[in-house]
C-alpha cells in the first residue's frame, strides 16, 4: 500500500513537471508579451529593454524556467504581464467563485444523476423512467454552452426571472468572497449550476442505470428480496455498493471535464472565476497566468485522483494495492 502510494506520488510529480515544462516552452515561442500588452506608441527602445529586464525576459530560456520553477514551489507564480499584480493573488481572489460553482454543480449533478439512474432501473417501464432516460441523453448530447445560452434566453431575456450575469451580492469571510450567504448570490448561482451540472446528471444517470440493471439481476440481490428485506435495504445496502465502484471511477475522471466546462460556463455567465481569468489571459498572451492555471489545475486533478484511489479501497475490501 505504502509502495503503491509512493509510486503514484512520484508519477504525479513527473506529470506535473512535464506539464509545467511543456506549457512554459510552448508559450515561450508565442507572441512577444511586451508587444501584445503595451501600446506600441509608448514603446521606445529603452522602455522595451527596461520592461524585458523587469519581467526577466532577457535571460536564457533554461534560467527563466529554473527561476520560475523555484519560485512556483514557494507558491509564487510571478507577476501578471497585463495587470502587474502577483499571479497567485489574482488566482486566490478568483478561486472562491469557481469553487462554489463547481462544487455545487458536481454534488447536485451527481446526486440527481444517481437518483434518476436508480429510479429508472427500478421502474423500467414507467413513464417517468423513460423521461429520465431522455433527459440523460439530452444531458450528454447538448453542449454546455448551448444549455447556458438557452437558459438565459428563456429565464432572463423572455421571462425576466433570473439574473444572467455575474455573482450578485457577495459577502467577505476573511479572504473568501462567498455568494452563498445572500439571496442574490443564490439567484445568480441557479443557471450556472444547472449549466455545469446537466452533463454530470446525464453521465451519472446512464452509468447508474446500466450498473443497477446488471446488479439487480444477480443472485445475491434476488436472495436479499427473498429474505423479505425492504427495498431500501436491498437497493441501498446490497445493490448500490457494487454500482458505486464504476460510478466513483467516472467521478474521479470527471474533474477534468468539470474544470473544462467551468471555463465555458464562466464565459457565458461572465462569472468572475478562474475560467474567465484564464480566457482573458489567453487572449492577451498573459503567460504567467496561463502557466499557473495549468500547473495548479494539474495539481488539483492529480491529488483528487489519489483520493479516488483511496476511496476504492474503502468501498471494496477486495481491492488491495501491492
Amino acid at each position: 500500500m505504502a509502495g503503491y502510494l509512493l509510486r503514484r506520488l512520484l508519477q504525479s510529480v513527473v506529470v506535473l513537471f512535464s506539464v509545467s515544462l511543456i506549457s512554459f516552452v510552448i508559450f515561450q515561442y508565442l507572441g512577444d508579451p511586451i508587444r501584445t500588452n503595451y501600446n506600441p506608441q509608448e514603446l521606445t527602445r529603452q522602455r522595451v529593454v527596461q520592461l524585458r529586464r523587469e519581467l526577466g525576459l532577457d535571460q536564457p530560456f533554461y534560467l527563466q524556467y529554473a527561476h520560475w520553477l523555484e519560485r512556483a514551489l514557494h507558491g509564487d507564480f510571478g507577476l501578471s504581464y497585463r495587470q502587474r499584480l502577483p499571479v497567485m493573488r489574482l488566482i486566490l481572489a478568483r478561486a472562491p467563485a469557481t469553487l462554489e460553482l463547481a462544487t455545487l454543480a458536481l454534488f447536485s449533478g451527481t446526486l440527481l444523476g444517481l437518483l434518476l439512474g436508480i429510479w429508472s432501473a427500478l421502474h423500467p417501464r414507467s413513464l417517468s423512467a423513460k423521461s429520465a432516460i431522455v433527459t440523460s441523453l439530452l444531458g450528454i448530447s447538448t453542449p454546455t454552452f448551448v444549455v447556458g445560452l438557452l437558459l438565459i434566453l428563456l429565464f432572463s431575456v423572455s421571462w425576466h426571472w433570473l439574473p444572467p450575469f455575474g455573482r450578485g451580492t457577495t459577502v467577505s469571510l476573511g479572504a473568501w468572497r462567498s455568494g452563498l450567504l445572500t439571496l442574490s448570490g443564490w439567484q445568480h448561482l441557479i443557471m450556472p449550476v444547472i449549466t455545469l451540472g446537466l452533463f454530470q446528471v446525464g453521465v451519472m444517470a446512464r452509468l447508474t442505470r446500466s450498473g443497477m440493471l446488471e446488479v439487480l439481476a444477480q443472485d445475491y440481490v434476488r436472495t436479499a428480496w427473498a429474505k423479505g428485506l425492504s427495498s431500501t435495504q436491498v437497493v441501498g445496502k446490497h445493490a448500490l455498493r457494487n454500482v458505486l465502484i464504476p460510478v466513483i471511477t467516472v467521478l474521479g475522471m470527471s474533474y477534468g471535464e468539470l474544470i473544462a466546462f467551468s471555463i465555458v460556463t464562466e464565459s457565458i455567465f461572465q462569472w468572475p472565476g478562474l475560467g474567465n481569468l484564464l480566457l482573458h489571459a489567453v487572449f492577451s498572451s498573459d503567460q504567467p497566468i496561463v502557466v499557473a492555471y495549468i500547473v495548479l489545475t494539474s495539481l488539483l486533478i492529480l491529488s483528487l485522483n489519489l483520493v479516488v484511489d483511496l476511496l476504492y479501497v474503502a468501498l471494496n475490501p477486495r481491492i488491495r494495492y501491492g
Partner: protein, 291 residues
C-alpha cells in the same frame, strides 16, 4: 463476401426493428448529405464576402413579418443567411469529426495493438499516458492547447483534439489484444510462422473491432461538441468561416436584441446531430455487445 453480406442484412433487420436508431441513422445521413452538397443547396455562399449585403443584416425568418427570400431562417449581423451558414457550418462539424475519428482512431489502434501484443516499456508508457489524459479529459486538454497555440482553423482544432484523443482508442485496442493474445487461433497463426504484423492485422484486429466501432461513434459526437465549444470560446475556427459554435457565439452577442433565430437554429441542428449520433452509438453498443 457472403458472410459480410449476410451480416449486413442482419444489421439492417435489427436497425429496422429499432425505430429510434433507424430515425437517427436517416437523420445523420440527411445532415451529412446536406453538408456535402452545401454549395448547391444553400441559397447563398456565406464565405464569399463579396456577395454579402450589410443592409440584409438581422432579417427575421421568412414566416415572420419582415422576412424575405432567400433568407429562409433569417440572417446574422453581416447579412449571412442563417440557413446557408448552418449548411456550411455542418461541413466543418463533419470534417472535424471525421478527421479526428480517423486520425486518432488510426493512431490509437496501431499503438494499442502493438503495445498489447508486445508489452514492455511501450505498454507501460502507454498506460501511464492514458491515465493522465483521462484524468485531464480531452476537452480540457484541447481548450488549453488551443489557448497556448495561436493558430486558428480546422487543422489546428483537429490537431488539438486528436493529439490526446487517440489514447481512448489505444487503451481499448490494447485491452482487446490482451484478451485475444492467449486464444488458440493466435497461437496457431504463430505456429504457422506468421509475422507479428500479419497476426495483428489479420487475426487480432478483426476481432477487436466491434468495441472500437462503438467508441468511434460516441467519440464523433464528443468531437463535434468539442469543436463547437472551442469555436464558441473564440479559440476554434476563424470568424470568416463560421462553424455552428461560432454562429452561436456571434448570436450570443445579440441575446437581448431579440434576434433569437441567430442562436436557436444552429443550436437545434447541433443538438439533433449529436443526439442522433449518441442514439446510434447506444444501438451499436447493444448490437455488438450482448453483455
Amino acid at each position: 463476401m457472403a458472410k459480410s453480406r449476410q451480416q449486413g442484412s442482419e444489421w439492417w433487420q435489427s436497425l429496422s426493428r429499432s425505430p429510434l436508431a433507424l430515425i437517427s441513422a436517416i437523420l445523420i445521413l440527411l445532415l451529412g448529405l446536406a453538408a456535402l452538397f452545401a454549395p448547391w443547396l444553400s441559397p447563398q455562399n456565406p464565405y464569399d464576402l463579396a456577395t454579402l449585403n450589410l443592409s440584409d443584416a438581422f432579417q427575421p425568418p421568412l414566416w415572420l413579418p419582415g422576412g424575405h427570400w432567400p433568407y429562409l431562417l433569417g440572417t446574422d449581423n453581416l447579412g449571412r443567411g442563417i440557413l446557408s451558414t448552418i449548411l456550411y457550418g455542418l461541413r466543418i462539424s463533419f470534417v472535424v469529426g471525421l478527421s479526428v475519428v480517423l486520425l486518432a482512431g488510426g493512431m490509437g489502434i496501431v499503438t494499442g495493438l502493438w503495445a498489447g501484443y508486445r508489452g514492455g516499456w511501450l505498454d507501460a508508457l502507454l498506460m501511464r499516458l492514458a491515465d493522465t489524459v483521462f484524468s485531464f479529459s480531452t476537452t480540457l486538454m484541447a481548450i488549453l492547447i488551443m489557448g497556448l497555440l495561436k493558430a486558428r482553423g480546422v487543422g489546428a482544432v483537429v490537431f488539438a483534439i486528436a493529439i490526446t484523443d487517440w489514447v481512448r482508442y489505444a487503451r481499448t485496442a490494447r485491452g482487446s489484444t490482451l484478451t485475444l493474445k492467449p486464444e488458440e487461433f493466435v497461437s496457431a497463426a504463430q505456429a504457422l510462422g506468421a509475422g507479428s504484423w500479419r497476426i495483428l492485422t489479420r487475426h487480432i484486429l478483426p476481432n477487436a473491432l466491434p468495441p472500437l466501432l462503438v467508441i468511434a461513434a460516441v467519440d464523433f459526437a464528443v468531437v463535434v461538441i468539442l469543436e463547437a465549444t472551442l469555436s464558441f470560446l473564440g479559440i476554434g475556427v476563424p470568424i470568416t468561416q463560421p462553424s455552428l459554435g461560432m454562429m452561436i457565439a456571434i448570436g450570443s452577442k445579440y441575446l437581448y436584441a431579440g434576434y433569437w433565430w441567430m442562436i436557436v437554429f444552429p443550436c437545434a441542428v447541433l443538438i439533433l446531430l449529436t443526439m442522433a449520433v449518441n442514439l446510434l452509438g447506444d444501438w451499436l453498443r447493444t448490437e455488438l455487445d450482448p453483455h
